[in-house]
Symmetry: C2
Subunit: 254 residues, 2 copies
């Protein structure tokens, strides 16, 4: 099974929303996916199982003290399990630095994971620090959410530069897919951003599925639910279901 | 004149949009404000003057090599001048750490600024690192944009905790105002978030002015303009003009 990282250093583009709802979509088709929250804001953890109270119950312990990642798994209301985040993780950049050893820890642990058939999704913070670099080294696919606005498109361009600089170190091309989010058909800008994405990154690297602007997606975190639990018939639920369908269809996910 | 920092570690809540348009509103009333871009994404720099090509032309030189901040000022099309940002600034967390000396550099420089009558606005990145801490130590007022959704409200709560922990070190209470952004009157959630803001932080710390969801605010960065240049009659322009009015009326800005 693939390890998928969800990253864009531009803030507020739908990283957490996409991770939450892809986990939800996988659980709905009978899988037992694993979520890893690498954002010290711990929003994904807060929604799925309540953010860990102490740093030692979070991914902080794995990075700072080498505790086994699998001992940090917490149950959620669905078949999804999650490794939570904690605000202390914002210290890891100055604690660990960005040496090869520091940025490949997660990759090494995931490579030897006990249940390789389980899908893994990693939510990242909005900066290219040691946590997001770990996610990039560890993943088989990078999903880059781009909200349909100018500044998020700028963010996508700078990731492209960063990835091109990283690939010699990674010694492979990191497969990536750009996901258009918060798409509002009434706004001319959205259609232009969609065209720019395909023109600059190529149709093959842009998901056909677009996630429309849909209030159910903004409301569901409030209910501590994914969109399928909160509003299963909403355009948001249908869009993330279609996204999973596209991932399964292209063989990126089994 | 006051130094205003604009911060929320939640991404995509309107930090850059608010900094850009408050600078624009000040220039429209005949002032010569200074913008300081502390976000390595350099979005504010990109809109106002083109992001600096080299780190030595950006705020990086001030923090890493002690170059004078005022020698880094760049002109823009309006009366606003700006100190630009550069992606290299994302290394400053590991380079400088978070010692007292590291986080008070900006405050010391602004305290001795050559033109104290000029208003200063600081755009921050979406994390509580050495750059945002510098902005908090340096500012007279902290504006916390909160987009009208659940996760941004979570972000506002965690800043409140962070500020309460910082104040003993700051040796003062840091005046702060919460600004509701992307407010959509059609969404029930927005009204609830507005009520929660007042209930949790007190009406005195929440701006009466709310910034509505308005496409002109998302479009203007694309034209490399503030909203006043791009769409002076739009609800976005009217809202940021009203915000400046409220700042002037309350004596937070002269
Ligand atoms: N398609 C959508 N329709 C409506 N609202 C959305 C949509 N996608 C995301 N949102 C809302 O936009 C806000 C930003 O989304 P989210 O928090 O998932 O972004 P993020 O990239 O994870 O942010 P951060 O950079 O802070 O981690 C959230 O409040 C979310 O509810
Ligand atoms: N009131 C508004 N109406 C419509 N769009 C808005 C509004 N405020 C901000 N936006 C759009 O939302 C996106 C996020 O805003 P912005 O980039 O200013 O947030 P930010 O907090 O600076 O993000 P980051 O955390 O990445 O620095 C931008 O594309 C912006 O154009
Ligand atoms: Mg997030
Ligand atoms: Mg910004």
């Amino acid at each position: 099974m693939a390890v998928i990282a969800v990253f864009n250093q531009k803030g507020g583009v739908g990283k957490t929303t996409s991770t939450l709802n892809l986990l939800g979509a996988l659980a709905r088709i009978g899988q037992r996916p694993i979520g890893i929250d690498l954002d010290p804001q711990a929003h994904l953890s807060g929604i799925l199982c309540g953010a860990p109270q102490h740093a030692e119950d979070s991914a902080y312990e794995f990075f700072a003290r080498g505790k086994s990642l699998w001992s940090l798994l917490r149950p959620t209301r669905s078949a999804t399990e999650i490794v939570g985040a904690h605000i202390e993780m914002s210290r890891l950049d100055s604690l660990l630095g960005k040496s090869m050893n520091a940025i490949t820890r997660l990759g090494v642990a995931l490579h030897r994971r006990p249940e390789p058939e389980r899908q893994i999704l990693i939510d990242c913070p909005p900066q290219l620090g040691v946590l997001s670099l770990n996610a990039m080294f560890a993943c088989d696919l990078l999903i880059v959410p781009v909200s349909a606005d100018f500044l998020a498109m700028q963010g996508a361009r700078s990731i492209d530069h960063a990835l091109n600089a990283l690939e010699p170190v990674l010694k492979r091309r990191l497969p990536r897919r750009y996901l258009l989010t918060r798409f509002d058909t009434r706004r001319r800008m959205c259609a232009t951003i969609a065209e720019q994405l395909v023109a600059e990154f190529g149709a093959a690297d842009v998901f056909e599925t677009r996630i429309a602007e849909n209030v159910s997606l903004a409301e569901s975190p409030w209910m501590k639910m994914d969109v399928f639990e909160h509003a299963p018939a909403s355009r948001g639920a249908i869009a993330y279901e279609a996204l999973l369908g596209e991932l399964l269809g292209s063989g990126l996910v089994n």
